[in-house]
């Protein structure tokens, strides 16, 4: 049994009448990457705010490193690094000063702090920008700097709130690569995201949240197996021949779902579907493997949030 880093039992948060988190249980184990997935307003950020000690619990229990977050916030925060969703780098300071001043909040003396800062800038490929102003950095550079700032205190646990939102693919892949490296080095990662590719890339285990509740949890593979079949076909409704095609498919074991102008067909027997479709040459379709996104949409529904 591996060590538990975060343990939430009946975690509950109420904002003057609005229940943002409705009594959830989860645990994050040492050296794993744990993800919280959910649409906007699901309660992910609220949950993370409670873990960071920024938001007091309305109910339930929350232990980080075995300590109660309400009773030992300082000792917990000293061992934790946080990458926020929004940039809150200090614009009054240069790149390296940001790290140096942040290290001071953790009682790290100047010399080791500057040494650490250079190492971290090297790690995220920003060393040549060390004296640059924050306003002169691109979005991707800022996010990398936020990541390195979260590492100044050598945290055992790193919390990331949508770490790659708004990044271009190159920057996103670099961040993912760094995060995988951190996990390999034994750090525990807990992240929120609504990017399914990110969750599939990084997370060992994840929970899917909606409306303040956890809908399911497991590894990406387990969730796929539990909720969707291996292949997905997408057809556009109203295209000539689609209705006839669907009628032909009833000998095959499949599930179907309609959303807007698209029909989704989920099946483990892609070959049979392909064989049937081949006689309808005029029907356009997309055939792909099922992904976490299908699981996510199946569990949380397709209606627009917020």
């Amino acid at each position: 049994m591996s060590e538990i880093v975060i343990e939430a039992v009946g975690l509950y948060k109420d904002y003057s009448g609005f229940q943002a988190v409705k009594g959830i249980d989860f645990e994050v184990r040492k050296a794993e990457c744990f993800g919280i997935l959910g649409p906007n307003g699901a309660g992910k950020t609220t949950t993370m705010n409670m873990v960071q000690g920024r938001s007091p619990l309305s109910g339930g229990e929350l232990r980080v490193f075995g300590m109660d977050i309400g009773k030992n916030p300082r000792r917990i925060k000293a061992r934790m690094g946080v990458v926020p969703q929004e940039n809150n780098l200090d614009p009054d300071l240069s790149v390296i000063e940001n790290l140096r001043v942040y290290a001071r909040y953790f009682d790290i003396p100047k010399k080791p702090a500057l040494r650490k800062a250079e190492d971290l800038l090297e790690f995220i490929s920003l060393l040549e920008k060390k004296d640059e102003k924050i306003t002169n950095l691109s979005g991707g550079m800022k996010r990398r700097l936020l990541l390195s700032r979260a590492l100044v205190n050598d945290p055992e646990l790193i919390i990331l709130d949508e770490p790659t939102t708004g990044l271009d693919p190159q920057a996103r892949h670099l961040v993912w690569q760094k995060l995988r490296g951190l996990k390999k080095a034994g750090r525990t990662l807990a992240l929120t995201t609504h990017n399914m590719a990110e969750a599939a890339q990084l997370c060992d285990r994840l929970v899917i949240m909606d409306n303040g509740k956890i809908l399911d949890e497991g590894s990406p593979r387990e969730l796929l197996k539990r909720h969707v079949r291996g292949s997905v076909f997408e057809f556009t409704i109203g295209t000539e021949g689609t209705d006839d095609l669907l009628a032909c498919l009833n000998t095959i074991n499949y599930e179907t779902e309609t959303s807007g102008d698209t029909i989704f067909i989920y099946t483990d027997d892609a070959e049979s579907v392909l064989r049937e479709i081949s006689s309808f040459t005029r029907v356009g379709f997309v055939h792909r493997q099922a992904t976490l996104e299908d699981v996510f949409l199946k569990l949380t529904g397709r209606e627009l949030r917020e």
């Binding site: 904002y15 609220t46 705010n49 960071q52 000690g53 920024r54 938001s55 007091p56 916030p73 300082r74 925060k77 000293a78 934790m80 946080v82 926020p84 929004e86 940039n87 809150n88 780098l89 200090d90 614009p91 009054d92 300071l93 000063e97 001043v101 942040y102 001071r104 909040y105 953790f106 009682d107 700032r149 205190n153």
Partner: protein
């Protein structure tokens, strides 16, 4: 309400927030120095020299010497207020600096306390700079001036706390205009900086007794002239009590605003 009455948990880490502000200020302290000096010197020249043609002296003191002690404490008020209003509000909202700090071992109360200490430091500094000009100019002279740094410090803490209370309540920059027009400006003109309050109707004197700057002006004038009536002890006590209350409240209100 109960939350407001429990003592703030402020430790040594408040100093780290002070250091953060000092580090950023040191980058452009020269510009800051000019700003600190320019306004009070302008007042001294305009009112002190200009008006002295018409006002021979007040309470036996040449007019320019009469206003000098008050201008020092008015400078403390202005510098501490500006810092804990515009500076602190910018760090709290636009820059989200507090959000970044509060996930470290520094807690929210220490962030607020650090801001108050820093606002007080800026107030202190701006008055010391003026004092350094007034002494060689010969406008103030008394061994009691040795006590004025202590006055500037307490006064700085007082106005920094008061400003941070306003910051804790303000939804946007626009609301600061109320504080400046309705509180800071009346204090500047009706706290005895430019003329004795005895010249005013009794009700104005009553109102000005409730203005923090009045007590700072009384003490500063006492230290500058060496004329120390016993009532100055009451002024000092007033300031200490008010500073304790307002700093407590400022820390609590900033916490209430930032905790989600």
């Amino acid at each position: 309400m109960i939350e407001l009455l429990t003592p703030p948990r402020v430790g040594r880490r408040a100093f780290k927030v002070w250091q953060r502000n000092r580090d950023t200020w040191l980058k452009f302290y020269k510009a800051s120095l000019v700003g600190n000096l320019a306004e009070p010197i302008l007042f001294l020249l305009a009112f002190g020299l200009g008006l002295s043609q018409f006002i021979s002296d007040i309470e036996g003191v040449p007019y320019i010497e009469y206003i000098a002690p008050g201008l020092m404490v008015a400078a403390v008020m202005n510098a501490a207020t500006m810092e804990c209003i515009f500076g602190a509000f910018t760090r709290m909202s636009a820059q989200k600096t507090y959000d970044a700090i509060m996930v470290t071992p520094v807690n929210i109360e220490e962030i607020a306390a650090g801001e108050i200490l820093w606002g007080a430091s800026k107030g202190f500094f701006s008055a010391i700079v003026i004092l350094a000009v007034l002494i060689p100019w010969g406008l103030v002279s008394s061994p009691w001036l040795l006590l004025s740094p202590l006055l500037f410090l307490v006064e700085g803490l007082m106005f920094a706390s008061l400003a941070l209370i306003v910051t804790a309540f303000s939804p946007s920059y626009d609301y600061f205009a109320y504080y400046f027009s309705l509180v800071v400006s009346p204090m500047f003109f009706f706290s005895g900086v430019f003329f004795p309050l005895s010249a005013l109707p009794a009700w104005v004197r009553t109102v000005s007794w409730f203005m923090p700057l009045t007590h700072a002006v009384n003490l500063s004038r006492g230290f500058s002239t060496g004329d120390l009536p016993a009532s100055l002890l009451l002024d000092a006590a007033w300031m200490v009590v008010f500073t304790l209350l307002s700093s407590w409240l400022a820390i609590k209100l900033i916490k209430r605003r930032l905790v989600k």
